[in-house]
């Protein structure tokens, strides 16, 4: 399957081409070039997936295939950085997800971004992002993954800050970059610790024999009472938590909504933000066997984040922010599923359900964002109060959005139901507290999604600048396609393809858990309907009666403020300012002094170069004689 290299090369070429010739190309041509290259990538990904899942199962175990792998930099005999392509069930699944969603976003953007300044730049960076994300998932070793991980961060930064004339967008892009970069530092340290002890970056070597290499090489080594393996894996998880917006590193994601909406659909819903989940899944055998305590930590961080973000989502009025918090909550769901998972057979249900939810969530969340983009396109606002009653103007957006809401709420037979049911079942098997948390979150999810839905499409019509209209076909077709996927994606026998131990897992619907899940979701929907379908005083009254709690939630529990306090008040004022002063006064001063002295010396010695030959000969002979004398004297 060497042709899988083309999946990487094409978007890179598209990026270089669009980037280099952006001034020459028209909007339309550059859009078409970007989209066509992505279409080829998508087809290739499907071919790879089809070939992989039809041929690479040997004796009932999914094989890991490396069509390409070469040594790029070698440090020692053992420790070297390779570049290559690794195909196994999860990377193949990610290829399909990324290329599909990216293709839809490419098509959709041709309508959404029409006439925007910097359209070519937009497509160029979109290609760069797709390249980096694809590179990340097919990485054969943790260092290659790290390289692409950073590339993903950069392209995300560029896309969030796409409207660079808007101060809020610039601030958001910086915030996203700094927060994730901060987390990446943890990731890098984790990589270094891991490779220092094991002497390898390779995923295959790290995970073979149930993480035996990690366990044996780090045995008995500890730092501050915590074993080295735990340190390494926790640090790596911090990197993942940064990208996947886990509490308390989630603060960048809501702000990242300043970017163009299709970007939010691609990066901040379906692909980049699940990189953390993917990372944990990639190293799952190590987490599971070498450091189960980190896995427990992941489960609890995930469960807390899921609840926390769901509660905030209820109070937000910017529709993209609601979706952002919903994304945080859903990704936390996936994290929890990994956290509660075991390895062998049916114990590995959590792993499988996590990947399953990643898969289905990518489609319906992309659909939600693109639908929200379509709405924003029509009413030119992100605020709920400017919407309402849009269902008669935008029938396609309405229907597809409804399908996505039902999917995310977990109503059968939509895709979200299947994956969520597996997660709940896995949590039920493992830890009842987590199960209850997730169960509550499922209800909250249904509630805030339908609050969003009713506020946009039902309720009282607000005053618009012009009559809202349905989006052009180029935007609605991707919606319809994604809606189709949101309906049917759940029917794939996912456990047969993806499982922790790579042995097909036969799953079935846990009816008890499913019934509980569906009931709580229906309750959520019902409450949302009574509150928001028609104008009602209830929500306002509840908000008033909750008072401070409501305000705290609406302000996202002041987490941003806490970070600001830590960074601005403490670090900037008491650490950075004195250092800056020291730097300016002493370091700069010394450097200035050296510089000035050099210039002065140069001024003085200028006379040496007089231009007179006699003088030159004189210096020459004096030089020779002085050297000889010094030399003779020093020899004694």
């Amino acid at each position: 399957m060497e042709y899988s290299l083309a999946i990487l090369v094409l978007p890179l070429c598209a990026f270089l081409f669009l980037g280099l010739f952006s001034k020459v190309l028209s909007h339309k041509i550059s859009g078409i070039i970007g989209t066509c290259s992505l279409a080829v990538v998508a087809v290739l990904s499907y071919v790879v997936a089809f070939t992989y899942f039809t041929t690479c199962n040997v004796d009932g175990v999914w094989q890991t295939v490396m069509p390409i792998n070469f040594e790029w930099l070698s440090f020692t005999q053992n420790l070297h950085i390779d570049l290559g392509i690794l195909l196994d069930p999860i990377s193949v699944m990610m290829l399909v997800v990324i290329s599909t969603v990216s293709l839809m976003v490419h098509i959709y953007s041709m309508g959404y971004m029409k006439g925007e300044k910097g359209f070519q730049r937009y497509y160029a960076i979109l290609s760069l992002f797709t390249f980096s994300m694809l590179g990340l998932v097919i990485a054969t070793n943790i260092f290659q993954m790290y390289i692409f991980w950073e590339l993903v961060g950069v392209s995300s930064y560029l896309l969030i800050g796409f409207y660079y004339t808007k101060p809020s967008a610039v601030a958001a892009s910086k915030k996203a970059f700094i927060v994730t970069r901060f987390a990446d530092l943890g990731f890098l340290m984790g990589i270094l610790i891991l490779s220092y002890f094991t002497g390898t970056f390779d995923f295959g070597v790290l995970t073979e024999n149930n993480g035996f290499n990690v366990i044996s090489s780090m045995q008995g080594i500890s730092f501050m009472g915590i074993s080295a393996a735990t340190w390494a894996m926790t640090l790596i998880f911090i990197g993942g938590a940064g990208k996947s917006a886990m509490f308390p590193l989630h603060i960048w994601l809501p702000d990242a909504m300043e970017g163009p909406t299709p970007v939010s659909a691609l990066i901040h819903a379906a692909t980049m933000v699940v990189a953390g989940v993917y990372l944990v899944a990639r190293l799952f055998p190590v987490y599971c066997f070498a450091t189960p305590e980190v896995l427990t930590l992941i489960a609890y961080v995930g469960a807390f984040t899921a609840l926390f973000a769901a509660v905030i989502a209820i109070t937000q009025t910017d529709i993209k922010r609601v979706l952002a918090f919903s994304t945080i909550s859903q990704i936390a769901y996936m994290m929890v599923a990994l956290g509660v998972s075991g390895y062998n057979g049916h114990d590995g249900l959590g792993y499988m359900s996590s990947m399953f939810h990643l898969f289905t969530h990518a489609f319906f969340k992309a659909l939600l964002f693109l639908g929200a983009g379509s709405v924003i396109h029509a009413v030119h606002s992100n605020e709920m109060k400017n919407m309402g009653g849009l269902k008669k103007y935008m029938p396609i957006t309405h229907i597809t959005f409804l399908i996505a809401c039902l999917a995310i709420a977990g109503i059968p037979p939509f895709s979200g139901f299947f994956s969520k049911d597996e997660i709940l079942a896995a949590a039920f098997m493992h830890d009842k507290i987590i199960f209850v948390t997730l169960w509550v979150v499922a209800g909250l999810t249904a509630f805030y999604m339908f609050r969003l839905y009713y506020n946009i499409f039902w309720g009282e019509e607000s005053v618009h600048e012009h009559v809202p209209h349905e989006s052009p076909k180029i935007m609605t077709y991707p919606l319809l396609f994604l809606a189709l996927l949101s309906i049917v994606a759940g029917l794939i026998p996912f456990g047969e393809l993806v499982s922790a131990d790579k042995i097909p897992l036969h799953t079935h619907i846990e009816w008890g858990v499913a019934t509980a899940g569906v009931l709580v979701a229906l309750t959520g929907i019902f409450v949302a309907r009574t509150f928001y379908r028609k104008k009602s005083e209830m929500p306002a009254r509840i908000a008033i009666s909750l008072g401070r709690l409501y305000r705290a939630t609406a302000k996202k529990f002041y987490i941003d403020e806490v970070w600001y306090f830590v960074t601005r008040k403490i670090i900037f004022r008491h650490v950075s300012t004195p250092i800056a002063k020291f730097d300016k006064k002493y370091i700069d001063g010394t450097m200035d002094a050296i510089g000035n002295t050099t210039v002065k010396t140069s001024e003085i010695t200028k006379n040496l170069q007089s231009g007179r030959v006699q003088w030159y000969a004189w210096v020459f002979i004096t030089g020779v004689l002085i050297i000889t004398v010094v030399f003779l004297l020093s020899r004694g």
């Binding site: 510089g595 140069s602 170069q609 000969a617 000889t628 003779l632």
Partner: protein
Amino acid sequence: MDFGNFLIMRQEVGLMLIFLIMLVLDIFASEKSCIRKYFQPVACILFLVHTVFGFLFPSEGTAFGGLYVTSSLTTWMKHILDLGVLFMFLQSGSWLHSTDALKRRAGEFYVISLATLLGMYIMVSAGNLMMLYIGIETASLPMAILAAYNKYQHKSAEAGAKYIMLTSFSSGIMLFGISFLYAAAGTLYYGDINLTDGNFFTITGLVFFLSGLGFKISLVPFHLWTADVYEGAPTSITAFLSVASKAAACFALIFALYQAFGSLVTAWKPVLWWLIVITITLGNIFALRQKDIKRFFAFSSISQAGYIMLGVISGTSQGMTAVVYYLLVYLFANMAAFGIISAVENKTGRTDFGVYNGLGKTSPVLAFVMMLAVFSLAGIPPLGGFFSKFFLFAAAAQQGEYLLVFIALLNTVISLYYYLLVVRAMYIRPAEENAEKVNADTYNKISLLVCTVALIAVGIASFIYTNIDALSFGIR
């Protein structure tokens, strides 16, 4: 007489052949003959054939009873010199056709340059101090003619006069030193000189001898001619002086120091140490305030010479490799820079910094190449210059010369400042009024293209370094 000796000297013989062809062409082609137009391509092609031939059929061995020594390492060194001459030929076309007086004498230029190169070949291949001296003289005398090539221009004539006077002066002292050494050792063959005790004769002879080569490499305090001659000589000649002449002297110095005076290593090392320190520092300090780009590169080349000596002082085969490699990269960078200087000079007739203001706007490609060249000279990764400096410093550090490497590193910081002055002029300063786009002629473009590719590729292609490394093993 054994004519097999000439077979061993086939690189020199080939060079003489081209020399004769060009001479005959020049003599018999009448002034209006159309052959005159093709001197440049003919010379370039012949010379390219010679270079490739030398590359394909390297010779090894000694001739004339050890007067002449050749090995794969000397062959490599000669190729580096060849490249310098080739680039000079490519870059000099426009200049040679700029006035009628020059046009009439175009043939001479090639003949004299080749004669210089022959001298350099002999310097590199010498196995005897007298042979070395003859090589140096063969290289120097035509070089003075070249420096004075624009004889009706005051500055060029002055450069030629200064060069010939000072070079005779330094040759005299060097010869004096050689005679001392002969008195001390009783022989002039590298292999037989086995001086161990540092008596008056030996030390004085050694210092005098070193001063002669130091003059060619332009080590401080034997460097004073450099700026005036570089500034006055025609730009292509300056390029040649700064690269080939320096490289040949460096190679000759390596062989002389390690093959003839290897036993005196403890004696000359401290001398070289101090020479390096003042050379790098003074070269840099002078370069800071130059207003003329050719003078500027003169001082930059002085400090570069100091860096090169870092490899010589390390005295290991790794150091030798680093020197050869450094000179290779230095050649590409300097030749690229001078190619652009001569293009700009042909267009505007000026060499001051003012014409470089805003070059990034008016001729972006040339400015970009210039930027790569100075970045490489300053040693910025990923260009070749970074790796070559790195290898030199590594070689010296391995021998425990930490203080020296530290001083050299400090100096790279200063050098970064003045190299960036060029970049600032090109990219940040606004262009002068009515500044026009500068175009290099086709031959010059070829040379610039080759240099640019080489600057980037040499750093990445590690096999070049490994290849030289394999050869320089066993130099001592």
